[in-house]
């Protein structure tokens, strides 16, 4: 595929359940980012992966949030014990190398916690 893909596109879950969101970056991109966008708000940085380096987790809002990346490929963002305030669009982006490079975004996963 030519772009960043994310799945599912929509996820509705009940409060307290765990969810996993998936991101497939552009092939060859070593950097991968997760952002959260609440309704009417700007993008909020969550986590950054660069190659095999330790991820920058400084944006994760609580210990209910975690993310993994296998090498330079797929990443999953996991939210445990979801809360209603977790409802948002979760966007993934990838770039060639450093964080200074242009980021290419996926279409996002819209998460609704009932």
């Amino acid at each position: 595929g030519a772009g960043v893909s994310q799945s599912p596109s929509n996820k509705v879950t009940e409060k307290g359940k765990d969810v996993e969101l998936r991101c497939d970056p552009i092939s060859g991109h070593t950097a991968l980012y997760w952002y959260r966008q609440r309704l009417g708000q700007g993008l909020e940085f969550l986590i950054y992966f660069q190659g095999n380096s330790a991820p920058d987790k400084s944006g994760l809002p609580s210990d209910r949030f975690s993310a993994e990346r296998t090498g330079e490929s797929v990443s999953t963002l996991t939210i445990q014990r979801t809360q209603q305030e977790d409802s948002a669009v979760y966007l993934c982006a990838s770039s060639f190398g450093t964080s200074a490079d242009t980021q290419y975004f996926g279409p996002g996963t819209r998460l609704t916690v009932l």
């Binding site: 993008l43 920058d56 400084s58 964080s99 980021q103 996002g108």
Partner: protein
């Protein structure tokens, strides 16, 4: 703390006019700023990057300026078209992340 702000949430203009969007930053001096476009239900798409030593950058009908004295970047769309209607985001680098403004939603009416 570092802040990046887009003062106008919405801008409505007529087709053919020039749209001007503003991005202000406080408490820091970014090495560069990026501008993205976001359509409903889609992720942002990169448009332009301007560095602090560049006064102006152009791409087709788009022009971005960077005024380090005013701590401001202006984003212009000339000869605007209804297809330009979208939300436009400015962003700066902070550590490893891009920090985004909330965006300005531009509506161009025919």
């Amino acid at each position: 703390s570092q802040k990046i702000e887009q003062n106008s949430e919405a801008l409505n203009i007529q087709e053919g006019k020039t749209a001007t969007l503003t991005c202000n930053y406080t408490n820091y001096s970014p090495a560069y700023l990026q501008w993205y476009r976001q359509d409903p239900g889609r992720g942002p798409v990169f448009l332009l990057l301007i560095r602090e030593n560049e006064k102006e950058k152009r791409k087709e009908r788009l022009k971005v300026t960077f005024d380090t004295t005013l701590k401001q970047s202006l984003f212009h769309i000339t000869a605007s078209q209804p297809a330009d209607s979208a939300t436009y985001l400015c962003a700066h680098q902070a550590g490893t992340a891009l920090i985004f403004g909330k965006g300005t939603t531009l509506s161009v009416s025919s």
